[in-house]
């Protein structure tokens, strides 16, 4: 047998792959997450002073996880035998949800966990990732690869802190958006006008922003601390809606960045898929020559969207300072831009998909923090790895070759 034959084994289709994944999850739940009978997991659903308090949710661990494992096995077998294309995402999503639920029950057996608080943290942590993914998506839809999201987020965070300290919160946010947009403009100039390799341009902007912000923060902020002391946007409770149990605190009593991210996802979806300009933008990304023939200004469209992407990333960056701690630290974005990039690919270049992926990463982030308090036997590092491993499994096993916009990475030159 030739070596190459190994990679050409009879292809198992994607629905069978998802079936296998679900069966593995079922086995994991059954054997590793088994809870002794008689121990109960307590989930707190509301805080003491909520308008409509809910009772704590108390689950009996043993039966719950046995049932969870059975359900997983059932949908796994079903997927393996006859799952249709449409069912893959649904079954997998449902399967992951059940697995996470079983895991939570196992981890909180005989203890209690504030579920609402964790979901709230999930949404908060998903914000910069979702905005980063949105920034990547806006520019990749017009065929400009955006590796520079990380740098743009960092620039936004820095500007938020500096301008926020000088002109107050709103001034900081608007400046962050403008500076983010300027880096978008720099990226656009480099790759569209100077036809520089798009990946190089992105890497370089990341390097440049990291250098600039670290330099200024160690050269200037260390001496003038008042320049790095911005006000923080507080949570705004939306009347009535914020009193709904669970959903209220999770979605309707957050700060302006969370609302902004959710609204931007909605607007971007509408813009890209339901408006004439959105269609034009996508045409430029898929087949610029055809778009040009039809009278769309390819260069201008690309400039506009890359600048827009930068502005969105600048807004997302401001979250790090104005939306959370109020001060800038060197390299404080910590790779969130790259995770945003992954979320964008994971979400298949669709705003809602990107938001969902961002929520998954955000959930894992907040889960890890909570579990450190619960003292589970699994080392926290492995829990921290889980979302990344899950991403690899899903990207490799199910999504496979995600199709980017057709003309991605190619500069356009009018003939």
């Amino acid at each position: 047998m030739r070596i190459s034959d190994i990679f050409n084994l009879k292809k198992i289709n994607r629905s069978q792959t998802s079936g296998i994944i679900l069966l593995i999850l079922s086995a994991l739940v059954l054997f590793f997450l088994n809870v002794p009978d008689g121990s109960y997991a307590t989930f707190k659903l509301s805080r003491p002073n909520d308008a409509l308090p809910l009772k704590d949710l108390v689950l009996s661990g043993g039966p719950f996880n046995t049932v969870a494992s059975m359900i997983l096995a059932f949908i796994g077998v079903r997927q393996f035998l006859k799952g249709g294309g449409r069912w893959i995402a649904l079954s997998l999503g449902f399967g992951f949800l059940i697995t996470i639920a079983a895991f939570l029950v196992w981890a909180t057996a005989d203890k209690s966990l504030n579920l609402t608080g964790m979901l709230q943290a999930t949404v908060v942590r998903a914000v910069p990732i979702a905005l980063g993914a949105l920034a990547g998506l806006l520019s990749e839809r017009v065929a400009v690869i955006n590796i520079a999201i990380e740098g743009m987020l960092l620039a936004g965070a820095f500007t938020g802190a500096l301008a926020g300290s000088l002109f107050g919160g709103w001034g900081g946010m608007i400046s962050a958006i403008i500076i983010g947009g300027s880096f978008g403009f720099i990226l656009a100039t480099l790759v569209i006008t100077f036809r520089m390799d798009q990946i190089i341009a992105g890497v370089v902007i990341n390097l440049l922003v990291l250098g600039l912000t670290s330099y200024v923060s160690s050269q200037v902020f260390s001496e003038y601390r008042n320049l790095n002391n911005a006000p923080v946007f507080r949570a705004i409770k939306i009347p009535v809606l914020s009193d709904i149990p669970i959903i209220g605190p999770v979605i309707f009593s957050q700060n302006i960045f969370v609302y902004g991210a959710l609204i931007l996802v909605a607007i971007t979806t509408y813009y890209l898929f339901y408006t004439r300009n959105g269609l034009r933008a996508r045409a430029v990304g898929e087949h610029p020559k055809a778009a040009d023939t039809l009278g769309i200004n390819v260069i201008r469209t690309r400039y506009f969207h890359v600048v827009l992407a930068g502005a969105v990333a600048g807004f997302g960056g401001a979250w790090f300072t104005l939306g959370s701690v109020g001060r800038f630290d060197e390299g404080m974005t910590g790779g969130r831009g790259f995770i945003g990039l992954a979320a964008m690919i994971f979400g298949r270049w669709h705003p809602v998909g990107a938001l969902s992926a961002a929520l998954v990463f955000g959930f894992a982030d907040s889960l890890q923090q909570k579990l450190a308090l619960l003292n589970t036997p699994i080392p926290s590092e492995f829990l921290a790895m889980a979302p990344y491993l899950a991403t690899i499994v899903v990207v490799a096993g199910i999504i496979g070759h995600a199709r980017p916009p057709g003309a991605i990475g190619k500069p356009y030159q009018k003939e």
Binding site: G211, V395, A396, H401, A402
Partner: protein, 374 residues
């Protein structure tokens, strides 16, 4: 044909450049570096640094990079891992793969190297050091191989895979450094046991001054440059890699196996990054600690880009980055200017070299109007 153009032709031939690329290879980098330094000076002025200090910091930068035997030793010590990892990333570019994962591969390679080294500390030096490096590069190759195999078999995007593998590697390192058989005895902070004395890469210049850190890794690095140059330019595999990078359909119809090319070049890239990690551990750091990779994997991307994925180009780019690194430390000590300025200068150099149109626009007099290739 006059002597001057003859000289150019010979130089260009030596550097294996396409004809007419002389300006791109020699003139362009010099103007790019000068422009980057000038902008660096402007940035310093903007943050309230006076002219005298700026002059002193540039003097310190030059002196710290190439001004003394110690400076040269430091420059090359910093350049070795950058070049090793950069060669791997460059190879990936040639194959049409964007490997962001060098950082993770360095971590895994370095981590396994240090574990191997203190576990088998009673082996004789030459055996121990050789096997430490082999273990490190195999570990890096295997780790990158995960991404390569998944990319080849399932078509998953290598950027997302390597980003995830980077993030996973940080956690693996954090976890490993807390394990009793790895953690240094009597320490509560996460730090590994040290590489034993006979497991360290021999220092090259300690007969001049025991503080000179340059180690025999430099020969490994030069060997890797030559090997990669041969591999890319002369070997059958290199041809397959380049063809695949230029046009994977053509490669497929020419009977090359794109899947094997992807797996092979990814594993080789990971091997080089893992080797970089192992060399860094056994030549400089002597132990693993959180963040010991210090962003080398990301700087190496810039080095590979700057060297245009050409082994000789990567060699020079790595030396330049190493020099800026070493000089930057001197600059911080002498003039009190933060070393972060160096990343700005590095980024600007890459911009100007990667987008030669900018430099041509700023300094048209340095380039004659006739033929240009790039």
């Amino acid at each position: 044909m006059n002597t001057k153009s003859n000289f150019r032709k010979t130089t260009a031939d030596l550097l294996m450049l396409r004809q007419g690329a002389y300006r791109d290879a020699i003139v362009l980098p010099i103007i790019a570096i000068a422009t980057a330094l000038l902008i660096g000076a402007l940035i310093m002025t903007a943050t309230g640094v006076d002219i005298y200090t700026i002059g002193r910091s540039f003097a310190a930068l030059g002196h710290g990079a190439f001004g003394s035997i110690n400076a040269i030793s430091e420059t090359f010590t910093a350049a070795i891992p950058l070049i090793l990892a950069g060669l791997g990333i460059g190879l990936g570019f040639r194959a049409g793969l964007f490997n962001i994962g060098a950082e993770g591969q360095i971590i895994i390679g370095g981590l396994l190297a240090v574990i191997f080294s203190f576990t088998f500390s009673d082996l004789p030096t030459i055996v121990l050091v050789t096997f430490t490096l082999i273990v490190g590069s195999l570990a890096g190759a295997a780790y990158a191989g995960i991404a390569g195999v998944l990319r080849a078999v399932t078509g998953a995007h290598e950027v997302i895979l390597t980003i995830m593998l980077n993030l996973i590697s940080y956690r693996i390192l954090d976890y490993a450094l807390r394990q009793p058989f790895i953690q240094k005895d009597g320490r509560s902070d996460p730090i590994s046991k040290s590489v034993p004395g006979n497991g360290q890469l021999p220092k090259l210049l300690d007969w001049i001054d025991p503080n000179l850190r340059l180690h025999v890794g430099i020969f490994i690095m030069v060997g890797a440059v030559i090997l990669l140059w041969w591999l890319i330019k002369k070997s059958k595999m290199g041809f397959a890699i380049r063809t695949n990078g230029e046009n994977s359909h053509a490669a497929l119809y020419a009977g090359m196996n794109p899947k094997m090319v992807i797996i092979g070049s990814m594993a080789l890239a990971g091997g080089l990054a893992g080797l970089a990690g192992a060399v860094q551990i056994s030549g400089v750091l002597e132990r693993a600690s959180p963040g010991f990779s210090a962003g080398i994997g990301f700087d190496a991307i810039a080095v590979a880009l700057l060297g245009r994925s050409h082994p000789i180009g990567i060699l020079f780019a790595g030396i330049l980055f190493g020099g800026l690194e070493a000089g930057g430390r001197q600059m911080q000590i002498d003039a009190g200017v933060s070393i972060d300025l160096i990343s700005i200068i590095q980024a600007l150099v890459v911009v100007f070299i990667a987008a030669p149109l900018i430099i041509r626009t700023i300094t048209p007099w340095a380039f004659s109007k006739n033929k240009r290739t790039s």
